[in-house]
Each structure stands twice: as structure tokens, then as C-alpha cells.
Symmetry: C2
Subunit: 225 residues, 2 copies
DNA sequence: TGTACATCAGTGAACGCGCGTTCACTGATGTAC
DNA sequence: TGTACATCAGTGAACGCGCGTTCACTGATGTAC
């Protein structure tokens, strides 16, 4: 049994040859294949290992060189989905306070991002509502993370009033919930319908404005529950 | 080929004997079986015809005496789900205007109703986000119906201000969306956790109050978009 | 009321098919010397 | 540089299994007379 020094993992993997490059190319092909197969109304749990490998252009047995089974591919997809989404959120969060323009602009950015990354959002939203327990839990945790971050931002908005942190969470949850429902609507749109997309953005932005109007009155008067 | 007079369909079907009674008993057993099999994290599309018949206690071929295939069973489930939900909504709607008590009370009623009819709501919410296109469409239409009804009710709330009917729809959609997300949270609760259930009701009610606070300011000042 | 017959929900066997998983293998890539 | 050998991603065949659907059937229920 000999131990060899291995080449470090290459950054640009797609055009390489060699064991490592081939490995990660096939692995990526399996991930892409699974996402593509879910583009219509298929659930992840309804995909078969064999059809994923077929779509990826490898033999069924090759799957096991990369994942222990479909479950483990599912977890990988959750990770991939939220890795990019978290990065995006960090960017958007770097924006200033929510004034009218900013709300509409942020919703627009988000919607266009959903469009761009349709396959990941489709996967995530389906797994959130009907996926395996482990995926569901992982996604709920990611959402809770977004909610907490948003609650932190909201604290600045209401710093002149006594709003409890659990109320901040409640408000942030309402906002994130609205974004989840908006996401579903965007994914439901037929492709290439910019007018309808704008309509969704307008309505989504109005709903956020409505919520922020409510926030501006929250605990403003002594009529607290 | 002789034509016989048939007995009229009996109202109390469960304890009867005879062709018709047996027919509707098996049919109901298939429906119940499908709902029960979805109680964990299974999607309707992941159920097999054979396991549904097995759970219903009949042979696979018997399925075809009642439904053309699984698709047609799915449509039947959508119908059943919303038939009862619509009746429930009619009752709740018979209540007066949303003051604080009434919001909390209505949310409480709704949540307890979801608990009671868990299987139907689970089916509906899963199909909404990841079901077959036809089921998805049917459910979206039912939701649109609720939104329109709610918009009509909201019109009374804002009759002193110039709120467009599309804004009323936008507001009603926000409310219904929040209820959808609340439903998912209720279904996610482990059974028999009254404290956590109350917490969900409190939070849901607060979110509605927040929205209605926003509504009370909507177009109140000339600062219209 | 009694008998002969029609109806039809449910049966049980059969079919070809795609499934997940296993296994010994192949052959290109990489290493040791 | 050249050679012998190790590594290992991907192959192809095989397995037993549950699947959807078909079909002629059975036997209880219901009707005609």
C-alpha cells in the first residue's frame, strides 16, 4: 500500500484531464442533471437514481463514486442552493434603509436573481414544502437565518420605539414569508414575460410597503396588546 | 341488454350492503388510504397505485373500477379538500369586522381547523408547491377565489379612502399568503403541542394586525405612488 | 314466493419494465525509481 | 527519459423487486317474470 502525493484540486475544473478533474466533472454533471430533471413538475423524491445518471451521461453504478445515494445528493443540492443565495443576500443587505425606491429596487433585484437561478429556487421551494425531513429542516434553518438577519436590520428602523425582539422576529418572518410566496409566483411564470414579471415586482413591493407602513405604527401608540 | 331501475344512492353509505354501497365504501377507502400515506413526508406523486390499493385493502386492479388512474384520484382529492375548506370559510366570513379580538379569534379557529383536517391541508399545500400542473392550477384557482372574497370584505374597511380594487386584491393576497405560510407551520408541528400551537396563533394574529395597521394608513395621506 | 338470469365490484394471475444495488472489470492517469 | 506498477472513475452485466395495466374469472346483489 503506497501513499502518493496528489495534485492540489484545480480551480478551473472543466477542461482538465486527470482523475480529479474527471471526478468533479461527473459530480457536477450529476448535480446539473438532477436540477434539470426537476424543471417541470417533478419532485426531487420522484427522481430515480438511474434517470439522473442517464441524464448525466454515466452508467448507474458510477453514481456511487460520488454520493452514498439520492439522499446525499439532495443534501448537496440544499447546500449549493443556499451557498449562492446567502452570497446574494449579503450583497443586497449592503444597501441602505428601506425607503420606497429601495424597496421596489430590492424586490426587483431579488426577482431577477430568482429568474437567473431558477433551478435552485425551484428545488428549494419544493423541498421546503414537500421534501424529505432532513432537507426540509435544512431549508427551514436557512430561512430562520435570513429572518434573524432581517430582524437585526429592522431594529434600526424602530429604534425610537419599544419594539421587543420577538416582535422584530415576527415582522421579519412576515417579510420573508412574503418573499417565499413571491418566489413561488415567479417560478410559476412562463419564461420571457417581462411585463408579468414587472407586475409581480410591483405587487410584491407594494406588499412590503404596506408591511412597513404597519411597522411605522407598531407600538407607536400606547395601545399595546 | 336489459335496463334495470337502480336503487337511489343511500345517504348513510358505510353500513350498507349492495353494489352501490360497496362501491362507495371502496372508493372512500382509496381516498383515505392516499391521504394517510401522505401523512409523513411523501408527495402524492410518489405514491404508487399498488400501495394505495394495498392500504385500502383491495387488489390493484380494483382501483380502475373507481378512477382512471392516479391523476384522477388526485383531482378528486383537490375537490374534497376544498369542498370542506370553502364551507369553513363561509362560516368564518359570517363574522363581523376585524377588530383585535376578532383577528386573534379567527386565526385560532383557522389553525384548529387545519389541525382537524390535517390530511387535506397537507395534501393541498404539497400539491400547491410541487404537484402536477393540473392540481397546482386547481389549487391556485381556489386560493384566487378566497383572495377575491377577502378583497370584497376589505372594501368595507377602507370605504372612506380611495383604494383601488387592484390594491384590495394585493392586500388580500398578502393576508392569504400569510395564512398559507401559517398553515405550513401548523402542519410542521408535532401533534399534541398546545403551547406551541398557541404561539403560532399569537404570531399569526400579530402579523395580521400589523398588516391591518398598514391598511389603515394606505392612501390615507396624499403620498400615493 | 321462487327461479333464471343480468350486473358488476372485486379477484388473482400474468406481462414486460425500470428500479437500486453489487461486482469484477477496464483503461487512462499518475507515481516510483 | 523509460518502465513497471498503483490508483480509481467509469463500465456492463446481473440480481431480485415493485411497478402499472390487462384479462378472464367469481360470486354476491338485484331484477324480471
Amino acid at each position: 500500500m503506497a501513499v502518493y502525493k496528489r495534485k492540489g484540486k484545480e480551480d478551473a475544473e472543466s477542461e482538465e484531464s486527470g482523475h480529479d478533474a474527471r471526478r468533479s466533472r461527473t459530480r457536477q454533471a450529476l448535480i446539473e442533471a438532477a436540477l434539470d430533471l426537476m424543471s417541470e413538475d417533478r419532485t426531487f423524491s420522484s427522481l430515480s437514481l438511474r434517470e439522473v445518471t442517464k441524464a448525466a451521461g454515466v452508467v448507474p453504478a458510477a453514481f456511487y463514486r460520488h454520493f452514498r445515494g439520492m439522499d446525499s445528493l439532495g443534501l448537496e443540492l440544499v447546500d449549493e442552493s443556499f451557498r449562492t443565495l446567502r452570497a446574494q443576500m449579503r450583497e443586497v443587505r449592503a444597501n441602505p434603509l428601506p425607503a420606497e425606491q429601495i424597496i421596489h429596487g430590492s424586490v426587483g433585484l431579488y426577482v431577477r436573481y430568482v429568474r437567473e437561478q431558477e433551478r435552485y429556487f425551484r428545488f428549494a421551494i419544493r423541498e421546503l414544502f414537500s421534501g424529505a425531513a432532513s432537507n426540509k429542516l435544512a431549508i427551514r434553518n436557512e430561512l430562520r437565518f435570513f429572518i434573524s438577519e432581517l430582524a437585526t436590520d429592522l431594529a434600526l428602523l424602530v429604534r425610537d420605539r419599544p419594539v421587543t425582539s420577538s416582535d422584530l422576529q415576527m415582522i421579519a418572518q412576515l417579510v420573508v414569508n412574503s418573499m417565499v410566496m413571491l418566489t413561488e409566483q415567479v417560478l410559476e411564470l412562463p419564461p420571457e414575460r417581462p411585463e408579468e414579471e414587472e407586475l409581480l415586482i410591483d405587487t410584491g413591493a407594494k406588499q412590503l410597503r404596506l408591511i412597513f407602513l404597519g411597522v411605522s405604527l407598531w407600538n407607536a401608540k400606547p395601545g399595546k396588546k
